[in-house]
C-alpha cells in the first residue's frame, strides 16, 4: 500500500500553528539566489500557486500569501513520525521520500475485515488529523505508488491486474526522472499502456535501463525492497524476583544487575545516561521510585551504582519488592575517551568532576551546586548568574572591579557619621561596634535598571577602619538631609 501526502509540509506546519489553517501560505527556500516555493498549502494551490514557482511571482499572483522559510529535512522527520504511527497497521512501514509512505500489508488487512475498510480506516484517520492523504493498494509498491498519485477512481488494484490499472496512467506514474519523461513526452507516449507494448530491447536503447526497471517493478516482474522503519527501543530493564526483596543488600544487588545490563547496551550504542528512574513494584500493589540525574552522559557502571546506592535509603520495601524496572529517561551521545596513562588537570571536561557533582546532587540536591558566570548588570546582586551546565562558558569577560570577597545577602543597616553629605563616612557603627574610618574610596554610584525595578540608586564607598579591616558600605539614594540610609554590604579581604 502506498500513502501519498499531497501537502505534507504545509499540513504539518498547520498542525503546529493552528492559526495558519485554511490560509494560503507557502514554504520557500533559496535556490540560486532566488526564493523558490518548495511547498504550498491546499488553499494556495487553489489560487494557482504551485511548487517550483518563484516566491515573488506567487506573491504577485496571491496578494495575501504568507511566505514562510523552509527548513530542509523537515519532510523526512514528519514522514518518520507518520510512519511510526502507521506501525499499528502493519509491522513493515517504509519512508518514501519526499512525500509518501510504503506499507507492506500482507496478512494485515483481514484484521480490519477487508482491504477496502482497511484503507478507509487509515486514510480517514490521517485526514481527520489534518493530513491530505491518498492511498492505494496494489501487488507491487510501484503500482500502488502510481495509483495513489495518478488514478482518479478505485484505489484498490486486484491481484495481478496491474497492467490494466496502469495502462491509462501517464508515464510520470512510473517514478521516472524528468529528462526521461521529457523525451517520452516528445515522442508522444501519453500513457503507460503505450510503453508496455513496446519490446524491451527497443526501450533500453532509447531510454536506458531505468525505464525498464521501473516498468518491471510496477508490474511485479522485479522485486523491490522496502527499508522498514525501526521504532526506537526504550532503554528499560526489568528484573522480576522470585522472592520479594526486603533488604538494602537485596536492592543493591538488583540495582547492580539492572545497571550492568543497561550499561552494556549503552556502551554498544555509544550512549551515556543522563537521567534514570528506578521503579520498585511492591507486593502490596504500591510503587516506589527513585531517580538519579548526571551532569554528563555516563555509561560508567561504578559511578551509576554509587549514585543509586545513595538513594537506597529512600526506597521503602515494606512487605517486599517483587519487580524492579530501571528506565533511562534521557540518554545522550558520548565520546568514549581512551583512558589516560597519567592523570592531569583536565579542567571542566574532567569526567571525575562531573561524577563528583552527580554524587553531591544525589545526596544533597542539585540546588547546592553553583558555578557562576558574569551577567551584564552593574547592580551587584545581579552581576552574576548561575551556569546551567558544566560546559557553559562565560559569554562576556569578567569585569575587573573592586568588589568585596564576601557580599552580604541582604545589606545591613549601619549608623554613619560623615563630615560633608557627599564625603565618605568618618565613622560607622555596626552591631554596636564603632569603626573609625581612616581611608576611603568612592563614591561609586550604581544605578538601578529602571526597566527591571525602581528604587533608589546606591553610592558605594570602600572604606578601611583603624584596624585595617575593609568594608563596602553604601548610602541608598541621594543625601536627603535628616536621615540618610547607610548600609554595610560586604567585606573586602
Amino acid at each position: 500500500m502506498a500513502i501519498w501526502f499531497r501537502h505534507l509540509l504545509t499540513d504539518g506546519l498547520a498542525l503546529r500553528r493552528p492559526d495558519l489553517k485554511g490560509l494560503p501560505f507557502v514554504l520557500a527556500a533559496t535556490v540560486k539566489n532566488k526564493m523558490i516555493v518548495t511547498a504550498s498549502s491546499a488553499a494556495a494551490e487553489q489560487q494557482g500557486v504551485f511548487t517550483g514557482m518563484a516566491a515573488a511571482d506567487a506573491r504577485a499572483a496571491v496578494a495575501e500569501l504568507l511566505v514562510i522559510n523552509d527548513t530542509p529535512g523537515k519532510s523526512a522527520k514528519l514522514l518518520r513520525l507518520l510512519g511510526l504511527w502507521c506501525i499499528r497497521y502493519t509491522p513493515v512501514v517504509a519512508i518514501d521520500l519526499p512525500d509518501g509512505l510504503m506499507l507492506n500489508i500482507s496478512g494485515c488487512a483481514h484484521l480490519w475485515v477487508d482491504e477496502r475498510t482497511y484503507l478507509k480506516e487509515i486514510v480517514l484517520k490521517l485526514r481527520n488529523s489534518g493530513f491530505d492523504a491518498r492511498a492505494a493498494i496494489a501487488d507491487t509498491p510501484g503500482a500502488a505508488w502510481a495509483i495513489s498519485r495518478y488514478a482518479k477512481t478505485n484505489p484498490i488494484v486486484e491481484s495481478g491486474m496491474q497492467i490494466k490499472a496502469l495502462a491509462t496512467l501517464p508515464p510520470a506514474a512510473l517514478r521516472l526522472e524528468p529528462d526521461i519523461l521529457e523525451r517520452l513526452q516528445k515522442l508522444g507516449f501519453r500513457t503507460v499502456g503505450n510503453l508496455i507494448s513496446i519490446p524491451a530491447s527497443v526501450l533500453r536503447r532509447r531510454f536506458g535501463n531505468m525505464l525498464l526497471l521501473r516498468i518491471d517493478q510496477a508490474l511485479g516482474k522485479k522485486e523491490e525492497e522496502l527499508v522498514p522503519l525501526v521504532p526506537p527501543v526504550p532503554y528499560v530493564e526489568r528484573l522480576p524476583c522470585l522472592e520479594p526483596i526486603r533488604t538494602a543488600l537485596g536492592i543493591e544487588i538488583a540495582i547492580e544487575k539492572l545497571l550492568s545490563a543497561l550499561c552494556i547496551r549503552l556502551k554498544t550504542e555509544g550512549k551515556g545516561l543522563r537521567k534514570a528512574v528506578l521503579k520498585c513494584h511492591r507486593i502490596d500493589g504500591r510503587k516506589v521510585q527513585v531517580g538519579i540525574t548526571t551532569n554528563r552522559g555516563s555509561q560508567n557502571l561504578q559511578h551509576l551504582r554509587k549514585l543509586f546506592n545513595l538513594q537506597i535509603a529512600k526506597i521503602e520495601p515494606a512487605l517486599g519488592i517483587d519487580l524492579f524496572i530501571l528506565e533511562a529517561l534521557k540518554v545522550e551521545d558520548v565520546d568514549v575517551v581512551q583512558e589516560q596513562l597519567w592523570a592531569e588537570a583536565k579542567g571542566l571536561e574532567d569526567a571525575a568532576l562531573a561524577e563528583l557533582l552527580d554524587r553531591v546532587a544525589g545526596k544533597i540536591g542539585a540546588a547546592a551546586i553553583g558555578r557562576y558566570l558574569p551577567a551584564e548588570h552593574y547592580w551587584p546582586e545581579q552581576s552574576v548568574k548561575l551556569a546551567t551546565s558544566l560546559k557553559e562558558e562565560p559569554g562576556t569577560k569578567w569585569p575587573v572591579q573592586m568588589r568585596p570577597i564576601r557580599l552580604l545577602a541582604i545589606p545591613e543597616r549601619i549608623q554613619v557619621m560623615a563630615l560633608v553629605p557627599d564625603n565618605p563616612p568618618k565613622m560607622f557603627i555596626y552591631k554596636k561596634k564603632r569603626h573609625t574610618i581612616i581611608k576611603a574610596d568612592g563614591p561609586e554610584r550604581i544605578g538601578r535598571e529602571w526597566w527591571r525595578d525602581n528604587g533608589e540608586h546606591r553610592d558605594y564607598y570602600a572604606v578601611e577602619d583603624s584596624d585595617g579591616q575593609r568594608y563596602w558600605v553604601f548610602r541608598s539614594g541621594p543625601y536627603n538631609g535628616d536621615s540618610p540610609a547607610w548600609y554595610l554590604h560586604g567585606y573586602f579581604s
Binding site: 553531591v360 558555578r371 569578567w398 564576601r406 581612616i438 574610596d441
Partner: protein, 239 residues
C-alpha cells in the same frame, strides 16, 4: 668524618621522606610567590598535597582568609585548574576573585548548611585527583576528621584549605599548617588618597616539621609581596 650537623640534617631529610614529603625539585621554590612565608615549610616549599587550616575569628578575618586563599589558588590553578569551594550558606562573591587573577567560572561552589555534609563532600572532592584544590568552610574539625582528610589528600595530591570560623576551642588537628590571617591597614600610595593594596598579617601558628612565624604580605599587582620593614619594626617593638 661527617660533622654532627650534617648527620642531623640527613636524618631530618629521611624523616621528611617517611612522612610523605618528596625531596625538592629544582625551580619549585617560591612557586606560590609567598616569599618568606614559604621558607617556613619543610624544604622551603609550600606543600601542595596537604591540608591547610585557616582560623577565622570574625567576618573580617574570614574575608581576609578568603582573599589569601584565593591569591594562593590563582597560582595553583594557573593553567586549566578547577577548584571546588564548599561554603556554608552564602558562597563567596565570585566577581571579587578576578582581582586575585582567577576566572570565577572555573570555581564550582557547593553551599551546604550542615557540617557533616560539608565534610562528606570535602572528602569526596579530595578523592578527585583532577581537581587543583578544594576549599571548605566548616565550623569544627576534630583530629579524627582531619586525619581522614589528610590520608585522602596524600592519595590524590589535591591541595586542601579548610577555613574554620568557630574557634572557641582549638583542638589539635592533623593539618600540615595552621594559619591565621588578619587584615592590616593598607599602605599610602605616594600620598594618594584612598585604599592601597590589600595587606594582611599572616601568622603561621603551627607548621608540621617547619618553623612557625609571622609575616606581613601585600597583594600587589597580581602577586604577593612581602612587606619586610613592618616585620622588623614589630620585632623591634617586641624587644
Amino acid at each position: 668524618m661527617e660533622s654532627k650537623k650534617d648527620i642531623i640534617q640527613k636524618l631530618r631529610q629521611n624523616i621528611l621522606q617517611m612522612e610523605g614529603y618528596r625531596p625538592p625539585l629544582a625551580g619549585l621554590h617560591n612557586l606560590i610567590g609567598l616569599g618568606p612565608v614559604e621558607s617556613a615549610f619543610p624544604n622551603g616549599i609550600f606543600p601542595v598535597a596537604a591540608l591547610h587550616e585557616f582560623i577565622c575569628n570574625s567576618a573580617e578575618q574570614a574575608a581576609a582568609g578568603g582573599g589569601l586563599v584565593t591569591g594562593i589558588l590563582s597560582s595553583l590553578m594557573k593553567q586549566d585548574g578547577i577548584c571546588v569551594w564548599i561554603s556554608k550558606a552564602k558562597p563567596l562573591f565570585a566577581p571579587a576573585m578576578t582581582v586575585f587573577g582567577i576566572e570565577p567560572h572555573r570555581v564550582v561552589f557547593i553551599s551546604l548548611s550542615k557540617d557533616e555534609d560539608a565534610l562528606w563532600v570535602m572528602e569526596e572532592a579530595l578523592k578527585c585527583s583532577g581537581l587543583t584544590a578544594v576549599v571548605c568552610e566548616v565550623q569544627e574539625l576534630n583530629f579524627k576528621q582531619s586525619q581522614r582528610l589528610q590520608l585522602t589528600v596524600e592519595q590524590s595530591r589535591v591541595t586542601c584549605f579548610v577555613l574554620r570560623n568557630a574557634t572557641a576551642k582549638l583542638s589539635a588537628t592533623a593539618c600540615t599548617a595552621r594559619w591565621q590571617v588578619k587584615p592590616m591597614p593598607s599602605a599610602d600610595l605616594n600620598g594618594l588618597p584612598g585604599l592601597g593594596f590589600f595587606r594582611w598579617q599572616v601568622n603561621l601558628l603551627k607548621v608540621r616539621n617547619g618553623k612557625p612565624g609571622s609575616w606581613v604580605l601585600e597583594w600587589n599587582n597580581g602577586r604577593f609581596m612581602p612587606v619586610e620593614h613592618l616585620v622588623l619594626e614589630e620585632k623591634r617593638k617586641a624587644g
